[in-house]
Amino acid sequence: MATPPLPAPGEEVFCICRKPDSGELMVGCDGCDDWFHFACLAIPEKYHELVFSFYCPRCQAGETGPAAEGGDERARALPRTMWRRKCRVGDCFKPVAATSQYCGEDHARAYWRALVERTDEPARDHLRHMLQEPDVAHFQRLGQGPPRSPPPGSEAVLAGDGLLQELAAQLHGLRTRDRPLLDAHSTRLAAYGEWVRAANQHLFSGGDGGDDRGDKTASARARPKRKRPAKPQALCGYRADLEPPCAPERFAVEFQAAPADEVRGVCARLRCARHLDWAGIQHSALQFQRETLDSSEHRLALLLELRRDQLRLQLYKKLGQDARADTQPVH
């Protein structure tokens, strides 16, 4: 470093070295209006474009400048030199362009080209793959989940995983066994409900022929008839196995012939507190089962997907470790 000449008397001096201007590269302090040599402050000269706001060591220590002059609390805080962000290309010391990490388009291309050159063979493929994403939105989503392209050999690993197979079997069972069973039960309940309704129709609100017969034969027929205006009459109709015992017409005839609390295994009480809402309960139980099935299917599908991702990630990790082991020299 060339030593600047000693200052002549009366000449203006700068910097911490207190010497006059020798034409060397200097930076002006924003706090005290003094000028400083890059060399004296041990700042490489190549940074000169990157200075955003400079404060000399004295201002930073609060001896001079805004902190020493006082003012409100914010002004008294010690100032710091601020730098512009440097271009990402290693030997370029220009500041970045607005909303970019590079000084210009050229260096952006140069940086990425160099990055691709530097990476090893398998990773380069992935990088190329990444750069082929159609738009920014897709690109930004990269890395949030496992890679979409499965690693080689993943099919074998997936096929050999016990947990995955168990989940798949459960899902299969749900679809082929549980759901048809449930459907069969629903149709049986619906059919039996229909039968009970038909039987009740024959008994109470049926044709006039039924009424004539009822008036003649059973005194019990008179009782429901009296109460009819208040509320539509209906028998309970509960039967444990939900199988219609006979045709509804025949049942109506039998009930009218011999009214009892139970005819052919069917509960035939008019106001049955015991089996109250039996159809409603069974219906909501079935509904509940159906919802459960739906959510189990959803859950199993999700668990399968999670497990697959997990296995793929493990495989990726293993591949990465193997690759690293290959490149390292054998001791």
């Binding site: 509960y238 309960i281 509940f288 089962q289 999700l302």
Partner: protein, 441 residues
Amino acid sequence: MANLLLQDPFSVLKEYPERLTQTFDTPLHTCCVQFSPGGDYLAMGCSNGAVIIYDMDTGKPITMLGNKGGGHVRSIQSIQWSQNGRYILTGARDWFVKMWDLQKAWEPAKEFKFHSPIWTCNWSPGKELGCVVTVYEEDHAFAVDFSLENPTATKICGSTERMNKSEAESEENVKTLDYGYTLVACVHPKRPDILITGTSKGWIKLYRLSDDLVELVHTYRFAHSNAKHMIISQSGDRLAINSADRTIRQYLLTMNDDLTEISFILEYRYQDVINRLQWNCIHFSNNSAEYLVASTHGSSAHDLYLWETSTGTLVRVLEGTDEELLDIDWDFHSMCIASNGLETGNVYIWSITIPPKWSALAPDFEEVEENIEYREKEDEFDQIGQLAHQQELDQAEEVKIDLRSMEKFDVRGNEIDVNRFIIPIEFESILMLKSWHNENE
């Protein structure tokens, strides 16, 4: 100087809770509550058939029975924890009794369907995974055996009762005694072979159950109305019946070993003489049941009443809620009472609040209300006395302290030497929640 207790033993050992300390604001409408045997968890049965289990330490729900299906679809009538805390028995108005294994709480372990709604279900301690169920409009209680692959239910019907029935059929004129429908049942805690049931016509029936024989050994008429609840003390000698005639009757139950002499001695009747309120639910305190707590029916009363059973006097009214209370359960380990409200379905917890005794931290100091003048005691600075005192201290230190063997009973006489079941964490459901959360974002 011996170590003092930080908390005053007289307030710690209070025999009943006094203050409302916690309210569980449940999302579902709670119908019945039951503490786990160690008091760690609280199971709540809801009106839509769900059963939620709360952790009492954190006051947060930790699991829901049947979250993968198989839950009840109508309101829960009765919940019972098994003695080891691993199994739960639920009975509901959807005609099902279900047994849940908390190791796999997501679906029922076993279930049995009756042909009408369930009133109560109880474990029968004499049998592994056996229980006693009372069902709507049934003359007899049922014993359900959940240890079998396909659970079976058998009618608990004394051999003499059956004979009576066949006689009645053969000779129509002989009028057999009609006990009415069996509504409530409880098993004698000390004699697991004895089952006591209460009927709709005010009868108590006492059965002896052995492996292949059911015997009706005693009947007793307590009133002419429905039995609503029947509870028996842990010691087995106190029985209380809440019946539809607005009265709780407390009996002293004595029996000899071979059950030839059984007597029910009416000790006290509890009734609200002014408003004539019905009682919703009753519960005894632990061991020999020194206290009885009851909730009242009707929107005007929002309190729990607590009586001393030895004198029949009202000792405490537990207040703090502003709605009618239904079911009651009492946890004897941490001495708290849980009850659920009728309107909101929230669960209220009363417990003991213990004022800290700070002087215990510095045993030489004493808390005084106001300044007192110190007076030296006669022998305070006597040399001989001090020597004797020192010897005493030395002796006290020589006593070996057993730190390793567990105590069998806590201060209240509850057994603590039992394995408490800890409900496992469902990691899968946490995983699911996370992924659903991600999906929805």
